[in-house]
Every structure is written in structure tokens, then in C-alpha cells.
Symmetry: C2
């Protein structure tokens, strides 16, 4: 049987998982690939307890792996965008195919990396960079190849989804659940990447590029996190038949492409609204097949390794074959990649959820709805909560018809300026995800 | 740009969809494939109103397409297993790659067809044969290539799922909903294939082969339909926190492989339990990635065409390349396909739902539970319904612990023989689908 020599750089969570799964499932992987996948070398600053590297050459310099003439595929699992970028470019320069799980690297430097790879006639694969073990890159690039993809919406950060699921099911505050997530190892000590949506933005940019055939535009994503989300808004959403999810949304319109990550109300009856805990899911709307959804583990040692190894197997099948026969990195042939405008957030149209505290006197509701209707916005649903015993303010929660972000910003400003309104208006975006 | 010449045989629902989507999305498909996909010829007994075949050579003899030297890929969309089989073998004989949406053909004659194709060095692709537009074949064969797949469970017949969804949400009887499904065009005039699980069995056999690396064993599937399912059992399942779905289940155990299609209670909180209407979904449990789920349209002109065209694009990329570089039809290299024993249904272990009518006198429940415990079975949940005013019998509904089919058959026999039991015991299988 043919042998494919792999060099793994980085022996953290994912690197350890890749070594474990490649060894444990060697027979079944070879039976599928038609080749033995051999870990020829590992480059890692230190060994990892519990990971069996017996019989494998372990070196401390990852660049030695990138230059090793015996290696066919360099697997970049060191993370970050500095050394990782140098390493990937070095591997490409030495004629290696590259597999990476590094979403930041691909989202921020993918355009440059793919160009370098094309010049050298090698492939750079990144299934593991988005939604962990879910084969979503393959599904969009190949499985939906017949379709004009219209939009996609993803729960693509497990930490954030765990926090929102717990807030809803246990009625606990954000900070409280975040602390638990950190204890469980779902969230980093510095949770910014996860809870502020930066990690999701990296993944969304990659999904949008392969769905629409556009360059990677990480600079252009609108990102809003979940850290200011209040439990009462999750409860009100529930009452209205919605769930709050931290969604990445990419949509192709005549005006360009929307790229945005923000907390979003979605109808509870949609399948994706019922994806809870650390799991990920991506919903893709396409013209021929309609909606399809892909669900699974978005992170973790072995789920991510599953995606890394799927890329290795794809490469192993066609080792040495001309790169033009391979699936292009961004799904479209490089000459067909179109630099479509990214729509500024203020022009993005969607539904909105508004919550406000109002003084309990006659006419307030009519004043509020008048502001909305003067902007051409109608009220789709409304809850008015009587003041609690000791309080003087009632709460109004409403869902608006679809309108541009900038219109809603103006509406909120007008409402907040009213005498009968106390404090600020809480605003969240609403997506019906119905095709 | 390279040109790939396609011949489409059959101009029914799917054939019409394939022509429409290939024409409408020609530019975006070419941009992905790096080749123009040209419909060179259509073989169909008659034209299809509303399908634009202008400029395409339409012939009445599908075999002319199979033998046409200008055609690279023959797309078999005529259905059935007689002419379709001859056609596919003829196309293979003439060195054509084949794409088919024909689940019966692959499930029943796939082993023979793949052998013929291997001999000729051509590929036979069948993404559209299972779960319509969901790229489930690709996900399992390629996306999960790193994994030992443990089991899979699918809602793989849209008609059946529509009927069960309507029965539950509207409280309507099976016959009533079936009639509506026929009116809506979701069910055939002869609904046997759909409601008796034969269509699902065809698809399950294909999924099991690519998941486990076993030959196609349509002869060995256990199949039970939904036509005798009663609305009250759907209601009782609801009360117990379950949904009734017509599932195809394939599981690899040390003893062999389970292959079965039957109505199944699954916990309402599982994502797949919330797949309603004509939609399909497949849940796959694997050792590295854990559970992944794939959801979308399981039938229809354009969804099925989406899968057909995805196969065409895969072939177009690598046209003329040696077949050994391609993904093997059953995911595993032919030499690695193992003829594992199919476990007889009587030895299959799962949970069970039992409903019985009991005379309303003391001690009956204890007699029933004694029968169960004497077979080593415990009661996991129980509802006892008081007799209605005019009736003399109460209803007992219970969920058992996991036990072999044959044990339950014996238990039911013993219970039915009891004096205090009226009529037959209704039994349904239960799967928790929890890994």
C-alpha cells in the first residue's frame, strides 16, 4: 500500500487528538484512503502527557518539519498567526501540502497563503478551522456545488452557545455561567475571543468566502458579543417564541454581502434554535436544495482531529496529482473569485427586538408605536408588563418588522428622548431564517 | 475552459430538475468545477412540459445516450431496477462514468454494478440516492474518514415523516393524513414503498455499507412500516417526553451489524426528534467526532438535482484521472470490504414501549411488572390511565429497559395470556440515541 508521510506541528489539544486518532484508527483510515498515513515527525516545544509518540521522531523545531524532505503533508496545529504563518509559508515553499485547524490564520492571511500555495502547486486544507468536526467546508465547497448559496447562519462558537444555553435553562447571569465555563475548560482564562465574537467572525469569514466565492474579508465583519446580554431578554424572547443565539450570518444580496456576528433572536421552532450546549450548527440556504443544516461538535481534541484527518485523507488519495484537479481552497476557481462589496452594518436589514422601561401613564404605548410607524416600521409582536408592586415603570417588549439598522438606531434615539421612557432601550436583532 | 459532456437519461421530476439547475446555475457551477458542464444529450420517452431542452439533442432511446461516444458522464434518472440496471451496465461498458439517484438500483444491485465499474476504470456516483439534497454520502465517505462509525439513525423517507408529523400536530389518523399526502403529491398512488419502509430500507442499506465498509445487504434489512401506527401511541409517547419517528437504524456491534427500519420512540429533546414535515435528517455517531447530524430536503426535483450535480462536479474535476485516485463507491477500498454478519432482528437489543388494556381490578399492574422482571427487564417509565366513564378497562403504558427483541416477544405473549388483559399489547421500539 502507498505510504503518505505526515509531519505534525504542535502537540496541544488538537495535535494530541490528531496523534491519538491517527494511531487508534490507522487500519480503518488506511482502508478508506488506500494509503497508510504515517506520522513521520512531530514538531513541538514540549511533549504532551498521555499522548503516545513512541516510534515517532519528535523535534523541538517546527520548521525542521516544514523542511523535512521525507514529509508530504505538514499539519499546522500550533495556533496563532505569527509563527504559524511563517511555518505554513515555509512548508509551502518546500512543496508540502498543508493541513491546518487555524481559523485566525486562514481568515486573516488566507488570501496570501492560498496564492503562495497555488504558485507552488500544493494544497492548503482547513476543514478543522470551522465548526470543529462538522464537515461543513466539504459540504459547502463540494456537496452544494450545484447551488447559488443565498445565506448561511451558524452557531460557530461552542463556548458562547454553552453560556447562552445555560443562561436560558438555569436562569443564570452571564458572568456566573462564564465562570463555570472557565472551570469546565470550555472557556479560556481570557474569554474575549469567544464571547466577543472574534472567534465566530474568523469562522464566518471563511464560510462566506467558500459560499459566495469572495476573498476572505476579516476586516469587514461586524461583530457584537454576548457579554452584555441580560437574562430577562432571554426570558422575554422565550415568551415570544424565540431563542437567543450568538449567530454568524452571511448573506448575498444585490447590494453585496452581509458579514455579521451578533446575538440574534430566532424562532424556537427552527431546528437550529434547538442546538444547545457546546455544540455547533450551520444552516445554509441555497437555491436548488433549499435549507440544509450541519450539526456536531465544534471543538475538542478528537472532533477537531477528525476534520484534520479528513483533510489528510483527501490529500492522500490524490498525492502528487496536479493541483488543478483538486477542489479550490475557496470553492471557486481563483479566476472566478469576485471582490464583492461588504454591506455596511447600518444598511443591513433585519427584524428587531426592543425592550424599554416606561412610566406607567396613559398614551406612552401610542407614542412609541407612532415613532415606529413614522419610520415605516410596524410592530409584529408586543408584550406589556405591568409595573411590579413597588416600581413605577412598566416594561414594553416588542418585535419590529424588518428595517435597516440605521433606521432602528434613529428609532431608539427618538424613543430614548421621550419623557415617559426611563433609561436606555435594549435592542437585539431578529432573524426568521425562513428561506 | 475544459468541457464535460453529460447525457441525462430520464426526464421525470429529477431529470427535469437536473436540466433546470444545470442551465440556471451554469456559470456558478463552472466557476466551482473549473469546467463547463454541458448537457450533450437527453434520453427520454417523452418531453417534459416546462423543462427547457432547447439546443439539446433529445432522443427517445436511453441506450443511445449510454453508447454516445461524445458523452463523458451518463446520468441515470429513469428509476426502477430493470431498464435502469441494463442502462447503467451499458454505460459502464462504454467507459462512461455514471451518476444515479436510484436507491433501489444501488441497494439491490450495487455490489455487481461497482464491480463492473471497477473493471472498466469508471466511477458510479449516487449522492442523490440517499436523503435527496443532503450531502450525506460525501459526509460519511469523506468527512468522517478518520472515524470508526458506531451507528447511524436516519429519518430518510420524507413521506413517512410528513405523515407522522401531521398525525402528531393535528391529531389525525394515519389513513386521513396519507390521503392528504397523496393529494399534495408527497405520496404515490401506491404508497407501499414509502409507508412500509422499503424506500427507507434501500437508503439505510447504502448508508450502512459506506459507514461500516460492508457489502450492500438489502436482503437482510428488517422493515416495519408506519401504517398500523395509532394516534394514541403518538400521544402517549409525547406524554413520556418522546417523539415517534420512522427511523432507519444501522449499528456495528461485536456480534455484527444491525439493519432495521421501524417506528421508533426517541427522546423529544434530541435534535433529530424535531425534524418535521417532509424533511430528512441523518444522525451519525462516530468514535472521534461524536454525534453529527445532517438535515435537509430528502426529495423533490431541485434538491435531488443538487446532489446529482454535486456528483457530476466531483467527476468533472478529475475527468480521465485514474479511478484509484477517486473515493471508492462504498467508502472503503474494495479489498477492505468485509462481509460482516447481519444480526437477526430477534437478537437486536433496544428499549420498548408497551401499551395494554387491563381490567380495572387490583393486582394487575403487579402481575405485569412481575412478567417483566422475571425476564430481567425493568420499567423505566409508566403511565396508568383510569378507565373512562363507560369503559371497564384501564390503559397501562410503560417503557422497558433495553432487552432483546425475542425477550420482548416472549414478554408480550405472556402478558397477552393473562386473564386481566384485554386484546393485544401494542409494542414499539425505543432508542435513546445518546451515543
Amino acid at each position: 500500500m502507498a505510504v503518505v508521510n505526515v509531519g505534525i506541528c504542535g502537540l496541544g489539544t488538537v495535535g494530541g487528538g490528531a496523534v491519538t486518532v491517527l494511531r487508534r484508527n490507522a487500519a480503518v483510515i488506511a482502508a478508506r484512503a488506500g494509503a497508510d498515513i504515517v506520522i513521520r515527525q512531530i514538531g513541538a516545544r514540549r511533549d504532551k502527557p498521555g499522548i503516545d509518540t513512541q516510534g515517532i521522531d519528535v523535534v523541538r523545531d517546527v520548521f525542521a518539519v516544514a523542511r523535512n524532505p521525507d514529509i508530504d503533508i505538514v499539519v499546522e496545529l500550533i495556533g496563532g498567526t505569527t509563527t504559524a504563518k511563517e511555518l505554513v509559508l515555509e512548508a509551502i515553499k518546500h512543496g508540502k501540502h498543508v493541513v491546518t485547524a487555524n481559523k485566525a490564520l486562514i481568515a486573516e492571511y488566507g488570501n496570501e497563503i492560498f496564492a503562495a500555495a497555488a504558485k507552488q502547486g500544493v494544497s492548503v486544507c482547513f476543514e478543522a478551522a470551522v465548526a470543529g468536526g462538522i464537515p461543513i467546508i466539504k459540504a459547502i465547497r463540494e456537496g452544494l456545488a450545484a447551488n447559488r448559496i443565498q445565506w448561511l447562519a451558524g452557531i460557530i462558537n461552542g463556548t458562547g452557545n454553552f453560556i447562552l444555553s445555560e443562561m436560558r435553562s438555569k436562569g443564570r447571569a452571564f458572568d456566573d455561567v462564564l465562570a463555570e465555563a472557565q472551570k469546565l475548560g470550555y472557556a479560556e482564562a481570557d474569554p474575549t475571543f469567544d464571547v466577543e465574537g472574534i472567534d465566530a467572525a474568523h469562522k464566518l469569514v471563511i464560510l462566506a468566502s467558500i459560499a459566495f466565492g469572495i476573498p476572505l474579508r476579516f476586516d469587514a465583519v461586524f461583530t457584537e458579543g454576548i457579554s452584555r446580554l441580560q437574562i430577562e431578554d432571554i426570558r422575554h424572547a422565550d415568551e415570544l417564541g424565540y431563542r437567543v443565539k450568538h449567530l454568524g450570518v452571511a448573506r448575498r444580496t444585490d447590494a453585496g454581502v452581509e458579514l455579521r456576528v451578533h446575538p440574534t433572536l430566532i424562532p424556537a421552532k427552527r431546528l437550529i434554535a434547538n442546538v444547545n450546549g457546546v455544540k455547533n450548527a450551520v444552516l445554509v440556504e441555497s437555491d436548488a436544495v433549499g435549507p440544509t443544516l450541519y450539526y456536531g461538535a465544534g471543538a475538542g481534541a478528537e472532533p477537531t482531529a477528525s476534520a484534520v484527518i479528513a483533510d489528510i485523507v483527501d490529500l492522500a488519495r490524490t498525492m502528487g496529482m496536479d493541483v488543478r484537479y483538486r477542489v479550490p481552497p475557496l470553492a471557486f476557481q481563483s479566476g472566478a473569485i469576485e471582490n464583492v462589496a461588504v454591506i455596511p452594518m447600518e444598511d443591513v436589514v433585519c427584524g428587531h427586538y426592543l425592550r424599554m422601561s416606561v412610566l406607567d401613564k396613559p398614551g406612552v404605548l401610542s407614542q412609541v408605536t407612532q415613532v415606529l410607524s413614522s419610520h415605516g416600521i410596524s410592530v409584529e409582536a408586543l408584550i406589556q408588563k405591568e409595573p411590579e408592586e413597588s416600581a413605577e415603570t412598566a416594561t414594553i417588549i416588542l418585535l419590529t418588522s424588518r428595517a435597516a439598522e440605521k433606521t432602528l438606531v434613529a428609532v431608539v434615539k427618538s424613543i430614548e428622548a421621550m419623557d415617559s421612557i426611563e433609561g436606555q432601550v435594549v435592542r437585539l436583532r431578529v432573524e426568521n431564517l425562513d428561506g
